[in-house]
């Protein structure tokens, strides 16, 4: 990063005596023939948000080294918020800048500077901002505060931005690794929760497996086209008839698998519930938004740019994956009793809708998918904010019972949560409805009626568990301990939640929460009774919730956000 800054200076001074050979954007057949120049133009404005985040991460590290340990609680999150705010501002600047100039390739043609990538830069900046806001109180509660979480988060966002802007498989791979490796560590961040470590390791093993698959796909695509750059690929494929397109298609399939893993599409989703449950709650929210968005950005880049001409070949594959993702996600979510796990399956199901948008392979589908991802960022941040509040110290209570009676304990919180749930269920006047509507309409416009109907069917199934959680919040929190402690409480606790089998053992955590939970009493009653005590809403979380809720409604009833997404469908 710092090297990048110094590079231009060095490059200019060490310029070779041979005839200059400028790199011009749009030139398909690469650079120069021989050792001419080590100078390439570095257009910093094209990677501005990314620079802000990565340099910010370094600044944080330096500050933490200079300041005495734990000198100021809240300093790092504050700085992170400022940094990601700046990054968001930078993306807004970029949006205007791209509007004024044409979209280009930049920095050795490695990234695309178009509205598609700028939209993701903004999305990722905002998700990072929320991540920092939510992490602060959580990490303090869990005694995990320190600079590392924020540095990792900023760097993961850097990687995600690189993925979204990448103009070739190598850049994509590097962004993917930067993001993933940081996320592995973030998953395993909660040192006292055994689940956290387990989830981190599982994520890591499966993630590196899928990275290897992705990379093999990149290699095969390279062999088939002679390049790793998407635009060069598509130009080549458009004008050439391959004698054997097997390697090309094989590479495409492997790339789909590798990226499908990142977006948790079925059948590459197995990691996701475990990791969502394992990761510290604010990180889960961050991950659900950023990793998914970046993975989809990669998929769009690869399939709609690189393999544009192979549409007829990949659309059926994506069709099948989308159907599986929609159905498996919603059906499995119903059987869950852990809030975070349920949200994991829910998020799998939501990915299915984005896949519908991708499958449409039209600008309407892309707009729908982008809008979906953008609004989902806010919804999921808000949802996990609430989960983080109700779960209590040590993540003791992630089961559905923890949210019972929230409507009485914190009416405002419950109302906001209800809004997020309704938005995920796709109820009109929330952003979720428009998002679903748009992707399904895109599918219908491409004549994909079956896919559209399956999408609606999945929504109908999914509404069941969203509404179930919603009503659970408004069911009675008081479990009458004096009167019929077994029957009454068991009924009250269990019956409103149809489809439950025996409650899961609570001892997921080794922390104090587990002790508290098991000492509470015995069996199902103690487990499902809502936690005692008042749910405190820290200021930062409150702000996040307010913003997310406002956005969810705003994007649901008015058009600017959708227009925004529509403008972002123009690729380079």
């Amino acid at each position: 990063m710092i090297g990048l800054l110094s590079h231009t200076l060095v490059g200019q001074t060490v310029q070779a005596p041979a005839t200059g050979c400028q790199v011009t954007p749009g030139k398909v057949t690469g650079l120069c023939q021989a050792f001419n120049s080590l100078h390439i133009p570095v257009e910093y404005r094209t990677i501005l948000p990314l620079l802000v985040l990565s340099i910010g991460a370094l600044v944080l590290l330096v500050i933490s080294a200079v300041l005495p340990k734990r000198s100021r609680p809240g300093l790092y999150p504050l700085l992170t918020v400022i940094i990601s705010g700046l990054a968001a501002g930078a993306s807004v600047f970029q949006w205007i800048d791209v509007g004024n100039h044409a979209a280009t390739k930049a920095i050795g043609n490695q990234i695309f500077y178009d509205r598609f990538s700028v939209l993701f830069m903004l999305l990722i900046s905002v998700a990072t901002l929320f991540g920092a806001l939510l992490s602060d109180s959580y990490l303090q509660r869990e005694g995990l505060d320190g600079v590392e979480a924020y540095v990792l988060m900023l760097l993961a966002s850097t990687g995600a931005m690189l993925m979204a802007a990448s103009a070739g498989t190598i850049m994509l791979f590097l962004g993917l690794e930067i993001m993933s490796i940081a996320l592995y560590v973030m998953t395993a961040y909660h040192r006292r929760r055994a689940a956290s470590g387990e989830g981190g390791l599982k994520y890591f093993i499966l993630g590196s497996f899928s990275s290897a698959i992705f990379l093999y796909g990149a290699a095969l695509a390279y062999g088939a086209t002679g390049t790793t750059q998407f635009d060069e690929m598509s130009v080549f494929l458009a004008r050439t008839t391959l004698p054997n397109d097997g390697i090309l298609l094989g590479g495409m399939a492997l790339l789909i698998v590798g990226l499908g893993f990142k977006v948790a599409a079925v059948p590459f989703h197995f990691w996701s519930p475990d990791v969502y449950e394992a990761a510290p709650t604010p990180f889960t929210g961050y991950m659900a938004a950023v990793a998914k968005a970046a993975g989809f950005a990669g998929l769009f880049r690869v399939l709609l740019e690189g393999f544009h001409s192979q549409e007829a070949n990949w659309r059926p594959a994506i069709w099948l994956i989308a159907v599986l993702t929609l159905l498996v996600g919603s059906v499995l979510a119903i059987a869950q009793r852990d809030l975070k796990r349920m949200m994991a399956y829910s998020s799998i199901s939501q990915a299915g809708y984005v896949l519908i948008g991708l499958q449409s392979a039209s600008s309407q589908g892309t707009a729908g998918a982008l809008f979906y991802l953008l609004t989902y960022t806010f919804i999921i941040a808000g949802t996990f904010a609430v989960i983080g509040l109700v779960q209590g110290e040590g993540e003791a209570r992630n089961d559905l019972g923890a949210i019972r009676g929230l409507g009485r304990r914190r009416p405002g919180l419950a109302l906001v949560m209800l809004l997020f749930l309704l938005a995920q269920a796709g109820v009109p006047f929330t952003s979720g409805f428009l998002a679903k509507f748009y992707v399904i309409a895109a599918a219908v416009n491409r004549g994909q009626y079956a896919l559209a109907i399956i999408g609606m069917l999945a929504a109908a199934i999914a509404a069941f568990f969203y509404l179930r959680v919603g009503l659970l919040m408004y069911s009675s929190p008081e479990v009458d301990e004096t009167k019929e402690p077994t029957d009454g409480a068991a009924l009250a606790g269990l019956r409103p939640i149809p489809g439950f089998d025996t409650p899961r053992e609570p001892a997921l955590s080794q922390g104090p929460g587990a002790v508290a939970a098991s000492s509470d009493g015995d069996g199902a009653v103690a487990l499902l009774a809502p936690p005692e005590g008042r749910v405190e809403i820290p200021f930062t979380v409150g702000i996040t919730l307010a913003v997310c809720a406002a956005f969810t409604i705003f994007a649901g009833v008015s058009s600017p956000v959708l227009d925004f997404a529509k403008h972002a469908t123009t690729y380079f």
Partner: protein, 215 residues
């Protein structure tokens, strides 16, 4: 290095080069496959790590055979020199240098299915390539590989121009690695409630001592 010399075609010894290229390939292939099978089949993790080294050497050999001199060197230095050493260190550190315990598979079909899937995947890739027909792309997009100049120079040229941004961004990766190590290796701090009774007593006693000393 002999292989490297031999691999460079000299007008004088075309036939020799031909034969030697095949020989190098064959040796490399044998090393690679035997090493890989060793990693998968041997019980002792230490042996596995050593077999991994053999594979890595084989790969380096094939790199040299295909005029990727610099990469071959890096392969040896980074992989054999650092990565495998790290593996060995961790194996020793954790004390897992013994045979894998016998345990019932949680899922009975795991091993046969794994082998079948591996074979199927391999077969599919070979079918896709029709075994002999792999490369269909255009030539020299990112710059020529052959032609005048050293391999390392051309590689450097490429990395510092066309691949400048990825190259710079690897630094982010390294920062993450550093921070991750700090996070993961840090002594686990426990909340007061998690301490055992003895430890709590110890903490209390220490506090009392401190108070005493102050007075």
């Amino acid at each position: 290095m002999i292989a490297a010399l031999l691999a460079t075609p000299q007008p004088m010894s075309v036939h020799l080069a031909h034969a030697s290229a095949w020989a190098v390939f064959a040796v490399g292939a044998v090393l690679i496959l035997s090493g890989a099978l060793g990693v998968v089949l041997l019980r002792n993790p230490v042996h596995c790590a050593l077999m991994l080294v053999i594979t890595l050497f084989g790969i380096a050999l094939e790199f040299i055979d295909q005029s990727a001199d610099f990469l071959a060197a890096v392969q040896i230095i980074v992989y054999a020199g650092a990565v495998v050493i790290l593996f060995l260190f961790v194996i020793m550190f954790l004390g897992v240098d013994r045979r894998e315990r016998f345990m019932r598979e949680p899922f009975r079909g795991q091993k046969p299915l794994a082998v079948i899937l591996g074979l199927i995947t391999l077969a599919e890739i070979l079918v896709l390539s029709r075994v002999g027909n792999w490369s269909t792309g255009q030539h020299g997009v990112a710059g020529d590989l052959n032609g005048p100049g050293e391999n390392i120079q051309k590689l450097g040229q490429s990395i510092y121009t066309r691949y400048l941004l990825p190259f710079e961004m690897t630094s982010a990766l390294l920062v993450i690695a550093v921070v991750a190590t700090v996070v993961l290796a840090r002594q686990q701090s426990r909340a007061p409630s998690e301490l055992t009774k003895d430890e709590q007593a110890g903490v209390a006693a220490a506090a009392a001592d401190k108070a005493e000393a102050k007075r």
